[in-house]
């Protein structure tokens, strides 16, 4: 303890970063497992994902407490201050990612009671993309490389585009066969959840950038999700 620096909370920040990294690892495995459960129709795995979410929640609380104590007792300044704020915000994003993964698994349990559909393979691609984004941004955080974070941030569009096309595809199915509406709604929500996970990864990228550079990424965030403004129309041929 004698080597503790009274002014700079170096050790505490290291602890904090380690905790975030651990939380990131958990979120990552939750995402991996929930995707696998969905694709392989593995209800046991899905159940596991659901039950493991509390661990992330607990870690998030711990990080919050640590940050408050650090702010109260050590009065971090400048880069240290940004690091603490970043840790707090990232923990929130990671906790959300955990929640979304849990949600995916819950829907997986429902889907697994239905007949298997081919549609789910489209989700796989999107999920892998989101997972790659998350991995990359967590690496950027723990290695302290804001440039890699910027790269993640730019690639968010790809997930959004994947989501758009999935959205169209599901719409088409539902219109073709109204019996699939129930199933497709679940699939749609899963897709939406994964898209949200991608957004959280982008959020983290922004935080990492701010943490290291002290300013925000100046460009406007790439927005590829146009489904919110998409009109739901019947195919022109069929309506008449």
């Amino acid at each position: 303890m004698a080597e503790t620096n009274i002014r700079a909370p170096v050790a505490e920040l290291e602890d904090l970063t380690a905790k975030i990294a651990r939380m990131g690892g958990l979120a990552e495995s939750q995402l991996t497992d929930c995707l696998e459960a969905a694709l392989r129709r593995d209800s046991d795995l899905a159940q596991k994902v659901i039950s493991r979410d509390v661990a992330i929640d607990a870690l998030e609380q711990e990080v919050e407490e640590d940050c408050v104590r650090l702010l109260a007792l050590r009065h971090p300044m400048a880069g240290d201050l940004r690091a603490v704020v970043a840790a707090m915000k990232i923990s929130i994003d990671l906790e959300r990612i955990g929640d979304l993964s849990k949600n995916v698994s819950k829907r997986t349990l429902v889907l697994n009671r239905e007949e298997p559909v081919k549609l789910i393979q489209g989700l796989g691609r999107m999920g892998r993309q989101a997972l790659a984004q998350l991995k990359e941004v967590l690496d950027a955080y723990s290695l302290g490389e804001p440039d890699r974070a910027v790269a993640v941030w730019r690639r968010d569009e790809e997930i959004d585009e994947l989501y758009n096309s999935l959205f169209r595809e599901f719409l088409t199915y539902m219109m073709e066969d109204p019996r699939t509406i129930g199933l497709c709604t679940h699939l749609l929500f899963i897709a939406k959840n994964i898209e949200r996970i991608g957004d959280h990864a982008t959020n983290i990228a922004e935080i990492v950038y701010f943490c290291h550079k002290g300013r925000h990424i100046s460009e406007a965030r790439p927005k590829g999700d146009v489904t919110s403004v998409m009109r739901i129309e019947s195919e022109p041929g069929e309506s008449s």
Binding site: M1, A2, T4, N5, I6, R7, A11, E12, D15, A18, K19, R22, A55, A58, L59, E62, V68, R69, A72, L73, R74, H75
Partner: protein, 272 residues
């Protein structure tokens, strides 16, 4: 997972008192009067061994007065009258059988303004051991001086000029000399009365660092005006207001979640 986190945390000063720590000084119902004016009202406070206990509060709140009760420094003030029970290792320090001079050798003190004696650096540190007859001969005395200066983190800066006057050092060095002087008597408790209030930030850092290092071997009680200092160095914090001990607890709790509205107001800068 949580256990693992605790393991990491234990090695860092996070403003918590280890539950295994023993109580070094226990004060119960301490009242103090200066003439007719009561300055302390029934203060109950435990000071854990091998930890830093900080006393904070607005000016005139009685924190320094309480600190000076712990080594009976208030005895030197004619009008001061102390009532209550203060025990050092279970022994009543205001008992008839306790000699204040002997007590002050066990409970050392560092003051607000660095006050080295106008003598050489060596003499400053050697004075205490000499009057208590601790050192057997010149060699032992040299040894004590060197180790005390080393513990106070001053040795490297003064080893070539032990004969020079202590008053010629910088403020921060003088304060560390005073700490070395207190350590030289081999006390069990070190009381510090605003030890950094006359120092610049860099010197303050060094003293705070030193306090954290010293707590491994001593029980330390520190009065401070600076809340950030209390937050940085202490594991337990006691908040005094108008002679009353308002709240006491682990520093981490006091600074994040004080229970008493007065503590809350003081810590958040609403008054004081």
């Amino acid at each position: 997972m949580s256990e693992q986190a605790e393991g990491v945390r234990m090695s860092r000063p996070v403003g918590r008192v280890d539950e295994r720590a023993s109580v070094k000084i226990a004060a119960r119902g301490v009242n103090l009067w200066y003439g007719d004016k009561q300055a302390l009202f029934s203060v109950d406070l435990d000071i854990p061994d091998n930890h830093v206990t900080a006393m904070i509060g607005p000016s005139g709140c009685g924190k320094s007065t309480f600190l000076r009760c712990l080594n009976r420094m208030n005895d030197t003030i004619d009008s001061a009258r102390v009532q209550g029970d203060i025990r050092l290792d279970g022994q009543d320090i205001y008992a008839k059988s306790i000699d204040p001079v002997q007590l002050r050798a066990r409970v050392g003190m560092v003051f607000q303004k660095p006050n080295p004696f106008p003598k050489s650096i060596y003499e400053n540190v050697a004075y205490g051991p000499r009057i208590h007859g601790i050192a057997a001969g010149k060699k032992a005395l040299d040894e004590i001086v060197v180790t005390s200066l080393k513990k106070a983190g001053l040795w490297d800066e003064v080893k070539d000029r032990l004969d020079e006057p202590g008053t010629g050092l910088s403020g921060g060095q003088q304060q560390r000399l005073c700490i070395a002087r207190a350590i030289a008597v081999n006390p069990e408790v070190i009381l510090m009365d605003e030890p950094c209030s006359a120092l610049d930030p860099i010197a303050t850092d060094r003293i705070e660092q030193l306090i954290l290092e010293l707590k491994e071997n001593y029980c330390i009680a520190i009065v401070t005006h600076s809340m950030s200092q209390a937050a940085r160095v202490s594991q337990r914090t006691a908040f005094f207001h108008l002679g009353v001990l308002v709240e006491m607890g682990d520093t981490a709790d006091i600074f994040t979640n004080p229970q008493d509205p007065r503590t809350q107001d003081y810590i958040t800068g609403r008054f004081g």
